[in-house]
């Protein structure tokens, strides 16, 4: 699946997108955040406050307990500040 990062999540991780295949034990958005956080200090820093992080699966907002099975694109970003 493709992962995309925006705003300070992108800056902390150091890239805008990547393709990953998490292990089958990672089933939800919050489990994916926990798994990513274990990859390096940069990810741990980006996801240090997981409750603040917003996620979208295939361009629609999802909650942390949303299943990631079948997702083509998952995005992580801070609360939105447009308008």
């Amino acid at each position: 699946m493709k992962l995309k990062y925006f705003a300070w999540v992108r800056e902390r991780i150091g890239k805008a997108e990547e393709t990953i295949e998490p292990p089958a034990t990672v089933r939800t958005v919050e489990e994916l955040i926990a798994w990513l956080s274990g990859r390096s200090e940069a990810y741990a820093y980006a996801f240090e406050k997981p409750k603040v992080i917003r996620a979208a699966i295939d361009h629609a907002h999802v909650r942390p307990d949303a299943a990631i099975a079948g997702a083509r694109e998952i995005a992580f970003f801070p609360p939105m500040t447009g308008g």
């Binding site: 995309k4 705003a7 979208a56 361009h59 629609a60 995005a75 609360p79 939105m80 500040t81 447009g82």
Partner: protein
């Protein structure tokens, strides 16, 4: 809804008068157009801002705004909606966002414009970064914006 929906995300500026004319041209069923323009402020909490950069998630931003417009048109009798959100780097005084809502009567147009802006602020994937004398930093989401959006939630 019996009317055009225009959603654009662009770097270029917009002309408010031309957008209104585009929405109402050749129509005699529209009695009210409400315009909201969002403009880059020159200060935030008494700190001077030198520039503002707007980042967005391109595909999702358009889909999310479309969902908001669909929700607005299901709740109010609208004759047309135009939403333009700019991205890029802005100086104080420059336009950032435009929301136009048209209806036969003013109340629907006023309410729908407010609803659309409240939802844009909290749900559309855009992020602002401010530049000031002390450096650059991401704008934090405001609880008052969440509260403004929450008042439209139907129980």
């Amino acid at each position: 809804m019996s009317g055009p929906v225009t959603i654009r995300i662009q770097e270029d500026d917009f002309d408010v008068a031309r957008e209104i004319a585009g929405l109402t041209k050749g129509r005699t069923d529209i009695g009210a157009v409400v315009t909201f323009s969002g403009i880059c402020r020159g200060d935030e909490d008494s700190a001077r801002i030198s520039a503002l950069t707007l980042e967005h998630y391109p595909d999702m931003a358009e889909e999310e705004i479309k969902r908001h417009v669909d929700e607005a048109t299901s709740r109010w009798p609208l004759s047309g909606v135009t939403i333009i959100h700019r991205v890029g780097r802005f100086m104080p005084g420059q336009n950032i966002v435009l929301v136009l809502t048209a209806s036969q009567h003013r109340q629907a147009a006023f309410e729908a414009a407010e609803f659309l802006m409240d939802y844009l602020k909290t749900n559309a994937p855009f992020w602002k970064k401010e530049e000031s004398a002390t450096g650059a930093g991401w704008v934090e989401a405001q609880a008052r914006d969440d509260e403004a959006a929450a008042r439209w939630t139907r129980s």
